[in-house]
């Protein structure tokens, strides 16, 4: 895998080649090593600020009361679940077209985190739905399509790990991720296409957002914090996977040497 990479690698004069430089696992490890503590620090700092602002300083909603604070977890999780899947789609295209080993690894390490985020989105939505709608679950279009998204994340995570040959698993997972992209517009527009219980989009609208600044700002800070945390988790997992692969290669080489010596 790594030898193949050095073969493609850097002819820094052309922009394409400079982009390919980041596919080198060694360079990736060196580049991210310094950035990781900063990324973790930024994630915890922003998330802490968002939590204090959202959970204590921001006012309760005039209609929903204190339960509106669930939104500061629920909405960022929903955005990350969808944005993360979009990222999985992009990474899968890169993996299929350019056969970047790092793209394969990123897709592999992205899906468990994405599944966890989607599960949290569903769980917080359910906890929020009980006091607001009077039920834990309704078969509403938005809820159902997010549930399908959760199954797609799980299916990807399971499929990638189901092969003895990791490259075959990566390829199958990439194709599945692209097939699953069909669901993403359905999740996004389900609240507009079907008039259901889940409220329509209130932040990402073309006109002004449909909520007060006192609630919107802490929400955006929480979203940024969770996004940073998501990025930190995925990057740490990818780094660990690169190192794991390296250790396996070293162990194989040592075993082969021992065999040759014997």
């Amino acid at each position: 895998m790594e030898t193949q990479n050095t073969a493609l690698a850097p002819d820094a004069a052309t922009p394409r080649a400079s982009w390919h430089r980041f596919a080198n696992p060694g360079r990736f490890l060196r580049l991210t090593e310094g950035a990781m503590p900063w990324l973790w620090g930024a994630a915890l700092l922003v998330l802490g600020a968002g939590a204090v602002w959202g959970l204590w300083l921001s006012p309760p909603d005039w209609q929903q009361g204190e339960t509106v604070r669930i939104m500061y977890v629920h909405v960022p999780m929903a955005w990350l679940a969808m944005g993360g899947y979009l990222g999985l789609g992009v990474v899968s295209i890169v993996a299929l077209v350019w056969k970047h080993p790092l793209a394969d690894l990123t897709a592999r390490e992205l899906s468990p985190v994405g599944a966890a985020v989607t599960a949290l989105c569903l769980a917080t939505g359910s906890i929020w739905g009980k006091p607001m709608w009077g039920t834990w679950w309704v078969w509403d279009a938005r809820l159902t399509s997010v549930l399908v998204l959760f199954f797609l994340w799980l299916g990807h995570a399971a499929l990638v790990r189901a092969f003895d040959d990791p490259e075959r698993g990566a390829r199958a997972g990439a194709i599945l991720a692209l097939v699953g992209l069909v669901n993403l517009p359905i999740v996004k527009f389900s609240v507009d296409w079907w008039n259901t219980l889940h409220q329509p989009a209130s932040v990402t609208r073309l006109d002004a957002p449909g909520m007060h600044v006192d609630i919107l700002l802490p929400l955006l800070v929480c979203a940024a914090g969770f996004a940073l945390l998501f990025a930190a988790l995925v990057l740490s997992r990818v780094r660990a996977a690169v190192m794991e692969r390296r250790i396996r290669a070293l162990e194989l080489a040592r075993a082969r040497r021992a065999e040759a010596a014997a």
């Binding site: 299929l96 159902t144 399908v148 199954f151 797609l152 799980l154 299916g155 399971a158 499929l159 189901a162 092969f163 003895d164 075959r168 698993g169 390829r171 199958a172 194709i175 599945l176 692209l178 097939v179 699953g180 069909v182 669901n183």
Partner: protein, 230 residues
């Protein structure tokens, strides 16, 4: 680059030959088809045990139960769709034949539908009677089941190609295919329900047909890409 007409004709002839091969194989081992049909009728017969034999309740439940049991039954033979060919090497021969992998997948999907979907349709009246489906809805039920099983055959072919060679592939396949088949279930059940309520099932059948058209294009491409990796 468009292939020459003679090349296109050769491709079509090869796809038809592959499809006929699937039929011949299914005819020589009818047990798989029979098992799927029996499974369908058995699952349909389980619902009355679960919800009680009240005719009104069953009629209310019938549309969804019918489509769901048909989809589950059509899943059964899928994990052997490419498995047998991969084991005896004929899949490698097919991939070497110059026929595009997507065309192979399309022929396989058509073969799966003809050997599983069609027999399920033939058994649909039995299941419909067991579930006390109202008489006017039977026509819509056949149409909806035909389209829903065809969509499942296409999606399932992609799933079977993706899980080919995987550990626990048989368990993984439903996990991948069923979430994608949910729209087919929703619109199929809605069409039957509309017909049972005296409404026209046409809009739902048209939506199902649209789903079929989309998956008929995309699924063979995905399956072909997965087969190429083998």
């Amino acid at each position: 680059m468009a292939p020459a007409p003679s090349a296109a004709r050769a491709t079509i002839r090869a796809v038809i030959a592959l499809f006929l091969r699937e039929l011949r194989l299914a005819l020589r081992h009818p047990a798989d088809t029979l098992a799927a049909v029996l499974f369908f009728v058995l699952v349909a017969a389980l619902f009355p045990f679960g919800v009680g034999p009240s005719p009104e309740l069953l009629a209310r439940l019938a549309p969804g139960a019918l489509v769901a049991s048909a989809l589950l039954a059509a899943l059964l033979p899928l994990d052997r769709l490419f498995g047998a060919d991969a084991e005896d090497g004929s899949l490698d021969q097919l991939l070497l034949s110059g026929l595009s992998p997507a065309a192979i997948a399309l022929a396989k999907a058509a073969g799966h539908w003809t050997t599983t979907g069609l027999p399920l349709l033939a058994a649909a009246p039995i299941a419909a009677a067991l579930l006390n489906l109202p008489g006017p809805a039977w026509g819509a039920a056949v149409g909806a089941l035909a389209l829903a099983t065809a969509i499942l055959s296409l999606l399932g072919t992609a799933g079977a190609a993706l899980t080919l060679g995987a550990r626990r592939g048989g368990v993984l396949l439903p996990l991948l295919v069923l979430p994608l088949a949910i729209p087919a279930l929703i619109f199929g059940a809605a069409a039957i329900e509309a017909a049972a309520g005296g409404l026209s099932p046409r809009p739902f059948l048209l939506l199902l047909a649209a789903l079929f058209a989309v998956s008929a294009v995309l699924s063979p491409l995905a399956a072909g890409a997965a087969l190429k990796a083998e």
